[in-house]
Symmetry: C2
Subunit: 299 residues, 2 copies
């Protein structure tokens, strides 16, 4: 549990939610293996190049896999690899009946088309939930993709953990990106919230935020949302992870969210801390998706 | 042009917009054929059973095809046909390089799974724009499907015809169905409107509607939206097609929209009539999609 969670009653206990998802995944694997010892959920992660931020995220995913009892394999390509070579590996993994989960770490070098790569992964092995078929099924009523994108799925789990039912609530999502904003707005609509999706062209953002019973912010601008805009009692999910210079820190920077936590936590009913809030939930949900995919393969 | 269009300056000239799309499609075909005489855009429409409403819609589509210079083929199955037989025909049509457009008339009998059928049509031949891949690409920034769903595409064309740019405007979509509400909200977001998607669980619908610079209503409830809720000057797109008993009519009913047209047209800046508004645009956009698909196949 981090400092914010310990000190502030409004702070969402993301540590506990995260822990409970990971424990559930681990228990689930053990339970299936008790009946079917050949059940071996595993992830093959493809990394192109050597970005240090990507490598850090990959280490977090590897650690989470090992803790959960999920086998982890890393396939590394130099950043000079051709798109065709990456596609050939994906195609081989799609065919491999012992591999339920495939994840291509983004971003990719410029000469490789991300959309082409994402669409090449078989939808039921797409444990990131970014394949167009999986995204399309988020839109369609009565259709639910086997795999939901990890961060939005984690956000919904955090909202549910507050005990507040999104049905009939006004939800405002700020940011319309493919990874968080757009798919989160779809999941909130599926949960019967009335969703307003705001973005850089929104002219009266503060008015929308003031109405939000549930506020999700994913824009990547430190402390962009002021505390006095928050509706009293709102559930605030801050997806921002911004590195801000801070000479008092040994590293020279601190990590801050898109919401002014200090002020917003005085008003919000529940608020996620940054760091330690949504980020770890994304990894937990990846574990959940790998197990879903492995079970699907077993059927 | 219908009576509403002639009598009311606020009434969107949907007849003219519709005519101009159909003329453009026809001219486009003639132009391509002048260079490439083998260019033959065509539609294969699959009908299961004999619903009279489906048959009426099919006749409208056939007529529009013929007018535009698009070949039309109808494949009829009795409503006792198995899902497998329909899938086999779709598979054969997917393989057939002389067929660019495939449309399965909905609804299907209960023993046939609509989602399975829709997903079986190859995405580039899916001229209805309902395949999950095409819907998924509506969500993803920087991705645009070749084929957009016909009604939402027609709605966007009608909005553009007013000269009003959706960018930065508040759009409210009432109804979150797969065919209209949900995909229209995605197209409006792509056009940089700030979109609120309302539905049966929305608690304060009137407040949302009062804020709407652009209002799209697709709920199927006659005159559900009262004129006094409309924001002065708003663009109102009424997708409703409701059959209401009317003893003064020879048929015994009249067709009315989801919006109280008489009152709303006193307030709105632009409003679509029902009938004659969005309906014919859907057919016009189907023609446009068939030509897009035929061109894609030629490449």
């Amino acid at each position: 549990m981090n400092r914010a969670e310990l000190c502030n009653p409004q702070c969402l206990a993301t540590f506990c939610v995260n822990r409970s998802v990971r424990d559930r995944v681990k228990a689930d694997i053990t339970e299936v293996q008790a009946v079917n010892p050949s059940f071996k959920p595993n992830l093959t992660l493809i990394q192109v190049g050597d970005r240090s931020d990507s490598s850090s995220y990959i280490r977090l995913k590897e650690k989470a896999c090992i803790e959960a009892g999920i086998e982890f394999a890393l396939k590394k390509f130099p950043d000079t690899v051709s798109q065709q070579e990456v596609l050939e590996l994906i195609s081989a993994l799609n065919e491999d009946t012992s591999v339920p989960g495939i994840l291509v770490q983004l971003p990719l070098p410029e000469h490789i088309n991300e959309s082409t790569i994402i669409a090449a992964v078989h939808p039921t092995k797409d444990v990131d939930g970014l394949h167009p078929v999986n995204v399309g099924k988020l839109v369609m009523r009565g259709e639910a993709p086997l795999i939901q994108p990890c961060t939005p799925k984690g956000i919904m789990e955090l909202i549910r953990s507050t005990g507040i039912d999104p049905s009939g609530k006004q939800a405002v999502v700020v940011g319309r990106g493919d990874l968080v904003g757009a798919p989160t707005s779809l999941l909130l609509t599926s949960a019967n919230a009335t969703v307003t999706l705001c973005h850089t062209k929104t002219t009266n953002l503060v008015d929308h935020i003031k109405r939000a019973d549930i506020l999700v912010v994913a824009i990547g601008q430190p402390n962009f949302i002021q505390g006095d805009c928050i509706k009293p009692g709102a559930v605030v999910i801050d997806v921002g992870m911004n590195y801000v210079p801070d000479s008092t820190k040994k590293s020279g920077y601190k990590i801050t969210g898109d919401v002014d936590y200090a002020a917003a936590s005085q008003v919000a009913g529940h608020i996620t801390p940054v760091p330690g809030g949504v980020g770890p939930m994304t990894v937990a949900m990846l574990m959940d998706n790998i197990v879903l995919s492995a079970k699907e393969m077993m059927d």
